[in-house]
């Protein structure tokens, strides 16, 4: 039999004594109230005055009334009447049940407290302010939950906590492949607590389904941006609900979902503000959905991305006719679209506003198809073609001729293109072409084309030929003749180039080069850098010589003497030594901001004073893999150059 110790003190609201029926609870270690006698460990004996009933196993529950006996609807009535956000936040932290109940109360269900009679006058005015604040929530808070930290508890806490602080505007949930603890329950809490939600992104959250999204659709009418990625449980029904209830929807992204044509049709019909849509890897979506979407949003849709879908030429035909407002178009991996699709798209003459077009891995991009696009899209400014294996030199040239407004052209892994195509494009392009890039095009060889040049391409300012192994000296020299007005030059990874090809290019450039990237051009020597410094030193701002093993101190001396504007220099893995660094430091008018000597094993601790001097203007310094620089030197630099971000 347990004995009852009759301690004195008010027993009305028992703030002291054992409050945990089971002393073995781990929550025992929460701080106890000030009335507890700390030398008397909490145990089954209680200190209440109220009479209790010895009824065997019911002893624990009867010893003090707990509010937990109240059913949910009573809690609802209590929580509705909490005066403000502070009380709600405090209640949210009490227990899981309280958190769940609180988070399921909608914003408009909270009472305004004007009839309580218990409030003092000054409290009343505060309540009114809190009420106003809630009505005018702008929804500007952002929350991002990832991986293990994405849980329903956190979502419920967010739903309660953000409500009186401006409201949640943007929510991003990124699950992980292991069990994700966000379910519809959490999403429903967000829907009820955050009516001002504008942007919702759900990535890889397989436990979320239609239920959660229905609630979002019903409560969050201000939704503008929705991102559903790898949510296989979400079906057309949810999308239909969103379409009907969220008229402000402007951005929609669907990736790896079970959404089908009906969902897209509903979106097209109901979302009259839809500006941007991206659909990837949704096996149930086909021509019907795309066609109906495009025809309904003809005058509003500006950005469209279609990737890994089973659509055919029909969709492109519809696009070519109805895409009247489309400015940005991205098509990736559409195996069922053929040449005819691109031809019809271009010939439809609907894509008058198309400015930027990017195509990857579409077998339909052939000479005919691309030419039709060039002719049918008079305002096309940017074209990017990746992995278009069927485009030949002739097609590229015809396109260049047709696309009079083209400003930027980029070709990646288009292996049928050779330097014939490249030069042909440069010769035949419109007067506006400013930037040309060819990356990883294995068809490039170094045959001497032997063109007589009618006129060089004076508009080109930026030229980038990267990792095209066949590109050699003759082609580089030709480039120089064709593009005399270059400002930016990127020839990274062109291992076949030597001084013999590059020097003529430097001499042909009439305008001053501003940014030059020669990383990976292992055969270039100091001569090239000296020439560069001499001819273009007055304009040169960025120079990248990463991996140019033959570059030595002479280059650094040339740079120091001639390049007052240089702010970004990369000599990683070059053969520079302490003398070169010292030369850099001694230069006048030198305002280097970023310097990389990563992998330069000949740069030693002796460079410390030079680096300190350079550090006066440096914002970034890369000393990684500098084996000859000791840790103490690095530490000294880190201490002294407090403005500089040092990698080591």
């Amino acid at each position: 039999m347990s004995k009852i110790f009759g301690f004195s003190g008010n027993g009305d609201s028992c703030t002291g004594g054992s409050i945990y029926p089971n002393p073995k609870e781990s929550s025992l270690f929460l701080p106890l109230g000030h009335r507890v006698d700390v030398y008397f460990p909490p145990c089954k004996r209680s200190r209440i005055r109220a009479p209790f009933v010895f009824s065997g196993e019911r002893f624990e529950q009867k010893k003090r009334a707990s509010i937990e006996v109240l059913p949910d609807e009573c809690f609802f009535e209590i929580f509705r009447r909490l005066p403000g956000g502070q009380e709600r936040s405090a209640c949210a932290s009490v227990s899981k049940r309280w958190l769940t109940l609180l988070s399921n109360i909608c914003q408009d269900e909270f009472c305004s407290n004007s009839t309580t009679g218990y409030l003092r006058p000054e409290e009343k005015s505060i309540e009114n302010k809190a009420e106003d604040q809630e009505i005018e929530t702008d929804g500007y808070l952002t929350r991002s939950l990832e991986g293990k930290k994405a849980t329903d508890v956190r979502l419920a806490a967010i739903a309660v906590g953000t409500a009186s602080r401006g409201g949640l505007g943007k929510l991003l949930i990124k699950g992980s492949s292991s069990a994700c603890r966000v379910t519809d329950v959490g999403l429903k809490a967000i829907a009820r607590g955050c009516p001002s939600l504008k942007s919702l992104s759900l990535w890889n959250v397989p436990s979320i389904g239609d239920e959660g999204l229905f609630e979002i659709a019903n409560r969050c009418h201000l939704l503008e941006k929705l991102d559903l990625c790898q949510c296989p449980e979400v079906s057309d029904k949810a999308v239909l609900a969103i379409a009907k209830n969220c008229p402000n929807l402007t951005d929609l992204t669907l990736e790896s979902c079970s959404i089908g044509n009906e969902g897209l049709q509903a979106i097209g019909r109901c979302c009259s503000n839809l500006k941007s849509i991206s659909i990837k890897d949704c096996p149930h979506i086909g021509d019907q959905g795309i066609a109906s979407l495009l025809s309904s949003t003809s005058y509003v849709l500006t950005k469209l991305k279609l990737q890994a879908l089973n659509i055919t030429d029909v969709s492109l035909a519809v696009l070519g006719h109805y895409g009247k407002a489309v400015t940005d178009l991205v098509l990736i991996n559409l195996p069922n679209v053929s040449e005819r699709g691109f031809w019809v798209m271009g010939s439809g003459l609907g894509l008058q506003k198309l400015k930027s077009f990017s195509v990857t891995s579409c077998r339909g991009v052939t000479d005919t198809g691309l030419e039709a696009v060039g002719k049918g899209c008079p305002n096309l400014k940017q074209l990017c073609l990746r992995k278009c294996a069927f485009l030949s030199n002739g097609g590229l040239v015809s396109f260049a001729k047709a696309a009079g407004s083209l400003e930027s052209l980029q070709l990646e892994e288009c292996h049928m293109i050779t330097q014939v195509g490249l030069f042909g494009a440069l010769l035949n392009c419109g007067a506006k072409l400013k930037a040309l890039a060819m990356v990883n095009c294995l068809g490039m060889k170094d045959l001497n084309v032997g063109l007589h040049l009618p006129s060089p391409c004076n508009s080109l300012r930026s030229l980038s030929i990267r990792h095209c192994p066949g590109f050699g000296n003759a082609s580089v020299a030709m480039l120089g003749k064709l593009c005399p007005q270059l400002l930016h030059l990127d020839l990274s990874g062109l291992q076949g180039i030597t001084d013999a090809g590059f020097l003529p290019l430097l001499e042909s450039c009439e305008a001053g080069l501003v940014k030059v990237n020669l990383s990976g051009c292992v055969n270039l020597t100091d001569k090239v850098v000296s020439s560069l410094a001499e001819l273009h030193g007055w304009t040169l701002e960025m120079l990248n010589l990463d991996g140019c093993r033959k570059i030595s101190d002479a280059s650094l001396v040339a740079i120091a003497d001639n390049c007052p504007l240089l702010s970004d220099l990369d000599v990683s893995k070059c053969a520079v030594t302490d003398c070169g660094i010292a030369a850099l430091a001694q230069a006048n008018q030198f305002n280097l901001q970023i310097l990389s000597v990563s992998g330069c094993s000949l740069v030693t601790d002796k460079s410390l004073p030079a680096l300190e001097k350079l550090g006066q203007s440096l914002l970034g310094l890369n000393l990684q893999h500098c084996n000859a620089i000791s840790i103490s030197t690095v530490d000294l630099l880190v201490d002294q150059l407090w403005r500089c971000d040092i990698l080591h």
Binding site: S13, T15, E87, K96, R97, K149, A157
Partner: protein
């Protein structure tokens, strides 16, 4: 209220109620209809025999009816009523919860509001720990969950 009844009905008719521990109460209709449940019963004419209330015990029912009586009294002033309410609801938690649940079950709006406001006032100004102590609630959050909730609601909880 049914308008086809004779004038005597509103003052004479009584309802019989039986609590869950078999206590019976007789109460005038005018008083009983404070509860929406009884109001509909009276209107629909279903008031033969004692109405069983399996969710309310005798003690609580007595209190509730006392409250209804006071509030049905046409002669009482608003000030007196407020004073009465303040005293009425100043009870210990067990009684308070019984009253709250009874008011909810019997659908007595004003009494429910009174009881809920009392609880809300008990919550006001307290930290989560204090709330748990006041109401004898177990903290069933794991440390991680508690931290998550605290982070989102830290502004309200103070240092």
């Amino acid at each position: 209220m049914s308008s086809s009844s004779s004038p005597m009905q509103s003052t004479g008719r009584k309802l019989k109620l039986k609590s869950k521990d078999d206590e019976t109460f007789e109460v005038e209709e005018a008083v009983a209809v404070k509860s929406q449940i009884f109001k509909y019963m009276v209107e629909d004419g279903v008031s033969n025999g004692p109405i069983p209330l399996p969710n309310v015990n005798g003690k609580t029912l007595a209190r509730v009816l006392q409250w209804c009586q006071k509030h049905a009294d046409p002669t009482i002033t608003e000030d007196e009523l407020n004073k009465y309410d303040a005293g009425f609801i100043d009870v210990d938690q067990a009684v308070l919860y019984d009253l709250l649940m009874a008011a909810n079950y019997l659908n007595i709006e004003e009494l429910l509001k009174l009881a809920c406001m009392r609880v809300a006032d008990m919550i006001k100004g307290k930290s989560p720990d204090e709330i748990r102590r006041t109401f004898n609630i177990k903290n069933d959050f794991t440390p991680e969950e508690e931290e998550e909730v605290r982070k989102e609601n830290a502004w309200a909880l103070g240092p």
